[in-house]
Symmetry: C2
Subunit: 445 residues, 2 copies
Amino acid sequence: MDVGEKSFRDAVDAKIVETCPSDLSSASIREIVSLVGSVEAGTGVEFIRMEMGIPSLPAPTEGVEAEKGAIDAGVASKYPPIDGIPELKTAAAEFAKLFLDVEIPSSNCVPTTGAMQATFAIFMTACRADSPKKCVLLIDPGFPVQKQQLETLGVEYVSVDIYAHRGPEKLKAVLTPIFERGDISTVVYSTPNNPAWMCLSDEELEVIGSLAGEHGAVVVEDLAYFAMDFRCDYSKPGVPPYPPTVAKWTDSYILVFSASKMFSYAGQRIGFMAVSPALFKRRFPGLKRWFSSDEFGHALVYGALYALSSGTSHSAQHALAAMLAAANGGQLDFVAPLREYARRAAAMKKAFLDAGFELVYSMDAGEPLADGFYFTVSYPGMSGDELLRELLRHGISAISLAITGSTRRDGIRACVSLVEMVRVKELRRRLGLFRESVGKHCEKY
Amino acid sequence: MDVGEKSFRDAVDAKIVETCPSDLSSASIREIVSLVGSVEAGTGVEFIRMEMGIPSLPAPTEGVEAEKGAIDAGVASKYPPIDGIPELKTAAAEFAKLFLDVEIPSSNCVPTTGAMQATFAIFMTACRADSPKKCVLLIDPGFPVQKQQLETLGVEYVSVDIYAHRGPEKLKAVLTPIFERGDISTVVYSTPNNPAWMCLSDEELEVIGSLAGEHGAVVVEDLAYFAMDFRCDYSKPGVPPYPPTVAKWTDSYILVFSASKMFSYAGQRIGFMAVSPALFKRRFPGLKRWFSSDEFGHALVYGALYALSSGTSHSAQHALAAMLAAANGGQLDFVAPLREYARRAAAMKKAFLDAGFELVYSMDAGEPLADGFYFTVSYPGMSGDELLRELLRHGISAISLAITGSTRRDGIRACVSLVEMVRVKELRRRLGLFRESVGKHCEKY
């Protein structure tokens, strides 16, 4: 059986009816994963899988050896401290200094069960700190699961797709009226961001930081793809340039780091958050309704994180501590292997453009977008639902931009990490068949 | 410096003022831990530490080797499935069959970042499933952090101290009016329980299961201390007796297991929950407000657990799978090493009784309470606050029963796990000094 043939199309269509009976473009990442898995099992055809952001590089030896060593030393039987083992707290603070040029005390650097747990704990705390402020501002497009977290917590949010509002003036114009409503407790964005791979500039972060400061909001900077704007070399500890960060522009911020992409350590669910000194110590009377303390840092760590899982894997903390320390000392160049993603992105984007696709998000504040972990494409005249269905029928999987807070409901997000360079030729062949088939059925579109 | 001397008392008193300025009996476990740590550091006197339930036995080789092997095989870089690796799901289902005589499909056995994350996810789901039912029933005394979880979620709860209501008739009499209010969504208890070490009988569990079934409530059975009622031998797979369980008496239950105590694996934050088939598939329209699905199991796993941490440590899942499989196969007798806790409890209880203390919870439905991980004591004429303070001044730490939902506000909970048998002599000496000092200051009490 080959992609695009009637029998394969029928198999895909049947699974779509089974798993996503309504609109395919509202299907979650996990639903697409499960759909593709069962089509692959049923047809024997291997998909070009672009739906999920899974690292495909091996974990660094420094992490693996430290983790095994910690298990040998007996950590498996001992509860980790809720706020993290000292080695990790120290290495995290040094990392923030050496790779971002930001001073945060080690006491304010706290490990979490992945960045996911960090944002959940932050939403539990920051969104309730200042009672009249009931709303979170999501600078979109962004990570769909953060919306899901807010929904499960019953916290309101407002989303702004800033693609058409880049640069400090336009950004200020679109964000100011939202802050002026007076109900924004927390601002969240990622940079580079998922899915559009936009990287916020220093001037744009100044706008966000100043507005948040002026209106008393907490800024959450999600650095899941830290140092992966490959247009700049951010790989040298203590050497400029440093990635732009809001930490330069407000004293009320939390930086969220994940080992998943940065160190290809997704399996162990480990990350950390670094809370600004002023925010950590700030007292919010509103917190007393939910936690035993009104001090932000205390409520976040001993209230939210303790209730969520009573700390995070002891051995994984040792792994992260060792990887950070090796990066800080210059023994581990964690950025070098990640450049493979940029090479794949360049080759895959070209394959899509050659087949008549267009980039949805193509520019980054006046410059061409960097090649990174994700890119976004659309096909002239097709809706997101139609495009995703037709790609699946040709053995290519992705997710719809509709679930990311993007206003571009005709596009899809492609993740490059699972597509090795040797598969790009097959991607080209399938996109050729796609184009032919869409031509044949053009009366439909 | 010695315990009980004026300089030591002053050091303790100063730290109490610093860390717990209000009522000492409302201090959390973590606050006592921190207080004791700083007195130890300041005075050089090592406490008899009974405040925290930390396993003190080494982790089983089966877990340690499987975890290191999984890391060597490369799991650190790969996201684990949200619902767990197949090996763990299968071993967990077999464990429920062989050690509890309960049939639960492997699809319904899901790993969590410790039992703590399991109860958090369950509260997020079960307490919201049936909208008019807004309240959780806690069968107390119980684990203080479950109350903290409910408070951070903004979920109401009602607590009943059942010590004076043991046996099926009395239990039914005290629980029925609460269920008849019509607002109980979820019932939670642990057995053996923390802190009173009561073990619910088959007849009592029938009462709880029937009432819950009749009133449409979900029962959460917290088995953190599974098989640790050492009066019975629950150590043989597939061989009776089995611990009593509510799974025999209702079709709407969740069993929560933790590797922390059972396998002395607390450091890796790993446990699992097993959801009854009827509950897993049940649809609750109320869930749609919070999750994308109204099916209980789907909302619990792909809604709550996904949002909380996107799964749990990949290597720790392999460790737990290996330990469960070894227990199932009879190669690992996980109960045998845990009997050390019973030996310590017997010796420590005797030391307290000889010094004039009384057991707060001494009977278990007509039989003398089993020796286990915790016991509870009071001292005639002293309040919980006074008792805890005076014990701390004599180098003995514990927590107040007041924070556990107990109605006995004069008692303390003692955990045996950190007190090795060789320290019992020193415990006796300090309790002697305590008694002398209390005699001298008896005008105070």
